[in-house]
């Protein structure tokens, strides 16, 4: 074959290569800056079970494929990694992880403490909705990556008359010792305030209605646990209803448990999780950790990751997972949020200790 190499041909090839590069998630950095040295791996803290499986499929595997950098998932609990990171930053040590997948409330504490890196230069932030921005914090010390609802999950066979309509339905005597809440009360305080006859506007000033309703619930002798417990308890037939994140209910359903969930008339708490990077990483590792989060905000990663979690993301036009379209646990339109309760992280973290102590006081009695 005889090919003539012309000036126009070289220009065309250059344009085509450049255009293709622009379509990749790392285009800007590749074109405008020299990529820093790649570490052999980055460590991402994650929740286990279906949670980490979804992250791996949606973000970590794609990141490794694109960059060649392995991703190790550290399944240390979010609450337990926090003091380790704080201690590492305070002592000027390299933190134990590169990226922390965290609740927005927990992450906000770290942001207030000043141990988070600024993420406002991530290219994919431009394509995110307002949900990505942490409320009450300057800039982007963390990036919210999806929202979730603390639904009322229930076993349909225990509710032959149909889905429970109110949180007060949990007070039915036949549900004694058959319900479960989170062991710090998270997700339950705000609907309890409404179910107890109070008003959301009174939070945090007057939460008597909330505590009164939680006292009533206490008489039902609920089980108190964490994410994996709910799935196990439903699976082992220990409980008939629980206030839990819809993802756990979805996971239990995937495991073959007949489970449904609803948003009762008093509403459900809506909250967000996010990703953040602790301070103290070497420059090159910080760069690649940022690229990891940037990828997590890409349309493709959000679609795969959140299909696994069954949760609404922070980029527009994601396709809801099968069966979750118009589901109350998958709010996307403004009207979907009407029955969901969202209280700012600032109020939550300022009052968390007090609420926790009060919840414990009632439940440990």
């Amino acid at each position: 074959m005889n090919r003539n190499i012309t000036r126009r041909g070289i220009l065309r090839t250059g344009m085509a290569t450049g255009g293709a590069a622009l379509l990749t998630p790392f285009s800007a950095s590749r074109i405008f800056a020299q990529e820093p040295e790649k570490p052999a791996e980055i460590i991402v803290r994650a929740w286990g079970g279906d949670w980490v499986a979804a992250l791996k499929a949606g973000v970590s595997d794609r990141f490794t494929e694109e960059t060649g950098i392995a991703v190790r998932h550290d399944l240390t609990e979010d609450n337990e990694i926090q003091p380790k990171i704080w201690a590492a930053v305070a002592q000027g040590r390299i933190p134990p992880i590169h990226v922390n997948w965290d609740t927005t409330t927990n992450a906000s504490k770290s942001a207030l403490r000043g141990v988070t890196e600024d993420l406002s230069d991530l290219a994919n932030l431009a394509n995110t909705t307002d949900l990505a921005k942490p409320i009450g914090l300057d800039g982007y010390p963390i990036v919210n990556t999806y929202g979730y609802v603390y639904v009322l999950a229930y076993r349909p066979e225990a509710f032959p008359d149909g889905a429970p309509k109110s949180w007060r339905d949990l007070l039915d005597p036949r549900l004694k010792r058959r319900i479960a809440l989170y062991n710090d009360g998270i997700g339950f305080h705000f609907p309890a305030q409404v179910a107890g006859g109070g008003s959301l506007e009174d939070i945090p000033g007057n939460m008597d209605a909330c505590w009164e309703f939680i006292r009533e619930i206490k008489n039902q002798q609920p089980l108190l646990g964490e994410d994996p417990d709910f799935t196990a308890w439903f699976q082992n037939g220990e409980i008939d209803a629980a206030c839990t994140i819809s993802t756990n209910a979805l996971a239990a359903k995937k495991n073959g448990i007949d489970l449904a969930w609803t948003v009762p008339e008093e509403g459900c708490k809506f909250d967000t999780d996010g990703l953040w990077i602790p301070q103290g990483l070497p420059e090159n590792e910080l760069y690649w950790a940022k690229q990891y989060i940037n990828m997590a905000l890409s349309q493709e990663s959000q679609q795969i990751w959140l299909d696994g979690l069954g949760l609404p993301g922070v980029v527009p036009d994601l396709t809801p997972p099968e069966g979750l379209e118009n589901d109350p646990s998958y709010p996307t339109k403004p009207e979907d949020f009407e029955n969901l309760i969202r209280i700012s992280s600032k109020i939550q973290i300022e009052n968390e200790s007090e609420w926790f102590a009060k919840f414990k006081e009632i439940m440990q009695g």
Binding site: N79, P83, L112, N183, L223, L224, G237, F356, Q364
Partner: protein
């Protein structure tokens, strides 16, 4: 002459020569003139470990004197006793402290109740097969971690577990056996039993069999022998076992967390909550110091009155 050549060809056995070599090396490293300090040298690693623990306690004590500033999530600058005041004024913490003490007390009682006959049979039986079986049954769960054992209990005693299945065979509806205080005590007793047997067995072995035979030949029945001979002579073992089981139970975290269903916290669970859930390290430190103080006082009182049993100290006469 032949004898002389035999002497010249004589060589000490290899083991002896190795020991001589080691002795010579030891002389170089630790000359004989330092012999009077040998005890201290042997103690040094342990003292270093205890020293690190004490340093940690000082750090915890310092932390406990600062309250958490929730606007920055850093400890406040001021020194204050506010964290101790929070504990003192909180009915929740008093309840948790009382539950921990009661749980530890009941665990000691039931564990010793089960461990004494078990140990007695183990050391007194003439059948080697039975002794081995008892040892294996004792040590098998010992090699499994506490968390795995608690999971085992969750499976066996759950609403659809083996125990409820067995109850179902005699027409009893499934009952909630888990996630309550008795379940926590049950888990602790199950966990502590090998510790107690290990502490008791040497004490029982030390009781001469002839003493029991003498008591019997003087007309004492089995119960009297047990009451007047075995029990008093096994006291060092009982005290040592009670101390170990009591302190481990008082500070336990996993059993209340896993078998208590979230509403049967012990002090260790409350400490965890403050350190890891609310990020209030000051309050967590105050609770941790109170737990150390509580455990130390109880152990001190027991040792003062009964001695430390097989742990090797003598009590008040």
């Amino acid at each position: 002459m032949p004898r002389d050549s035999e002497d010249r060809s004589f060589r000490y056995p290899l083991k002896w020569r190795i020991m001589d070599g080691l002795n010579a090396a030891l002389d170089l490293l630790w000359p004989r003139r330092l012999g009077r300090y040998t005890g201290w040298a042997l103690l040094t690693p342990a003292l270093l470990l205890v020293g690190i623990l004490v340093l940690g306690l000082f750090q915890i004590a310092e932390n406990s004197l600062h309250t958490l500033d929730t606007s920055t999530f850093l400890p406040g600058e001021e020194y204050t006793l506010a964290n101790y005041l929070i504990v003192a004024e909180s009915p929740t913490y008093w309840r948790i402290i009382w539950r921990s003490l009661l749980g530890a007390g009941l665990t000691v009682f039931f564990t010793l109740l089960l461990a004494l006959p078990y140990s007695y049979m183990m050391v007194r039986t003439n059948k080697a097969a039975l002794r081995k079986t008892l040892l294996i049954v004792l040590f098998l769960p010992f090699f499994i971690g506490q968390v795995v054992r608690a999971y085992g209990i969750l499976i066996v005693m759950g609403s659809s577990g083996a125990v409820n299945d067995a109850l179902g065979l005699v027409g009893i509806e499934p009952i909630r056996l888990l996630f309550n205080f008795p379940a926590v005590v049950f888990g602790l007793v199950q966990y502590m039993l090998p510790f107690a047997v290990l502490m008791l067995a040497p004490a029982l072995t030390a009781i001469p069999r002839e003493t029991e035979t003498a008591a019997s030949s003087l007309g004492a029945n089995w119960l009297k022998v047990f009451r007047h001979v075995i029990l008093p002579m096994a006291k060092p073992g009982l005290v040592g076992a009670a101390l170990v089981v009591g302190t481990l139970s008082l500070t336990d975290f996993a059993m209340p967390a896993m078998l208590g269903g979230g509403s049967q916290d012990f002090i260790a669970n409350a400490i965890y909550d403050q350190f890891f859930r609310t990020a209030d390290q000051g309050l967590g430190s105050a609770l941790a110091l109170l737990l150390v103080a509580l455990g130390s006082v109880i152990a001190g009182v027991v040792i003062a009155f009964f001695g430390a049993g097989t742990l090797g100290m003598r009590g008040r006469k």
